[in-house]
Symmetry: C2
DNA sequence: AGCGTAGCTTGATTAATGTCAAGGCGACGA
DNA sequence: TCGTCGCCTTGACATTAATCAAGCTACGCT
């Protein structure tokens, strides 16, 4: 499948492509192609050699890992996000598996093209460094979230983050099934239910995928969100429209 | 304090400096200075603005984070390691605190110099990207270690990693106090003790900081180390002598 | 409408980990 | 030599989360 003009436009606005010249951009995405996958498709297994940088344009992708019969969700990506950038830069194997949660549309950029562009244009290389640094910091936040908070606190902060991202209203819609959310928050579906019950004391009312906040202040007092862990950017813009300051990109949903 | 010739030599061999030309190297470290700190010095608090890339030349540094009266060790660095590279690249604030565990010697490189060098030389920029990508992957490993293994399994794998790094003999010396080790492994000192007791069934015998392995096979069967989580590079070389393939750098000890 | 299934919830139980309290052991100094 | 202090260990207990087992509910299907 050949890449059409309009396909590249959809990623031209990504943080680390935005500043690149047209020449460098063309070099970086040369050989890229667009592909659609049904829900539940395994794009990549941990340990696989990584030949492409993936860009999720539509749908949702879960990054996970397993060991000894256990497995865990590390992040859930929404458009527009790149993933396995680190493995591409190092031309190394994947440390995480990637599975589509919904029917998804992905742009696959040959790793070799990307690396070549990085080596030929310092500005582009720097932009990729910034992207990587942002991903790194997202992971640091994720680790802090898990090591410093118990499951109910993680849920409370997740809800506040969603609220901020969905416009700060008193009602939000959970973007995933509850069992997926549970895995993302590092708990079982059973415990997620119980955590929601506990938060009813803070005015959290759940009805299906809708969550209503009746006592936001009480919830905030309980959750104690921190700019050093959570990513409350107080702006209602689209994901695409962000400046190329620190982006949470992939790991964004993992908080 | 002015940087002397021999001081720069000590970092010239760092993964992302080794490939740089002398000119770029000089540009990157311009304005750098060397400083000694006693044990227990706070070099950086989370939230602080980061002006320097730190390079630990001697001693030991703990990276940690806190929230709501809890706090946690994220990594313990040994020479030669850089830290807070991501914050420097983004010219952003620190997400972790850094405290010296011992009397330590640090080289502090102005962030501005580093960023300028990255922007002027694509090869150097690429090398920094590789370093960042390695750090990222180290964190992914750390998250997997914590989410997929219980505390005893983490200890067992830590011991095997140390064994590999200390030459594969049947006896190792723990590099840190046990309470520091406990924090690093994400558990309390009490539980570390109990985890050691459990591992006696796998032939682990502890005497102070010395640990003897009487049944390595049994331990390996229990720990099930994985190249996708642990960093068992089967080579007895010095940390400095590594090729600039993926380095674990800072996060190395966090496994 | 009648059923079946998937996802969610609830309760009871077990496992893992943290907390509190007490005691041992060794290093160091008076 | 004897305290003393820090670190480690051990035991009893509390808290947190995972597991197991029903049941519930909404939705799709025939």
């Amino acid at each position: 499948m050949v890449l059409r003009i309009k396909d590249t436009d959809r990623i031209r606005d990504l943080a680390f492509f935005r500043t690149a010249s047209d020449e460098i951009f063309d070099e970086a995405v040369s050989g890229a192609f667009l592909q659609r996958f049904p829900a539940g498709t395994t794009l990549l297994m941990e340990g696989d050699t990584v030949d492409f940088l993936y860009v999720l344009l539509d749908g949702a992708v879960e990054l996970g890992a397993g060991w000894k019969s256990r497995d865990s969700t590390l992040a859930i990506l929404k458009p527009v996000s790149t993933f396995i950038l680190a493995a591409v830069v190092l031309d190394s194997d994947a440390l995480m598996s990637a599975v589509t949660l919904e029917r998804s549309e992905l742009l696959m950029i040959p790793g070799e093209s990307l690396r070549r562009a990085m080596k030929s244009d310092p500005a582009f290389g720097f932009a990729v460094s910034q992207e990587l640094a942002g991903c790194y910091r997202g992971l640091v936040r994720s680790i802090k979230n898990h090591k410093l908070r118990d499951s109910t606190e993680r849920l409370a902060n997740y809800l506040l983050t969603q609220r901020a991202r969905q416009g700060g209203n008193d009602t939000i819609t959970l973007p995933h099934e509850k069992r997926v959310l549970a895995s993302l928050l590092g708990m079982t579906p059973e415990n997620l239910s119980r955590a929601f019950s506990k938060l009813s004391a803070q005015g959290v009312a759940v009805d299906g995928a809708k969550v209503r906040f009746d006592k936001v202040q009480a919830l905030e007092r309980y959750a104690r969100p921190s700019p050093l862990i959570d990513n409350h950017f107080p702006q209602g813009e689209s994901q695409l429209g962000k400046a190329h300051t620190e982006r949470q990109q992939g790991v964004l949903d993992a908080l």
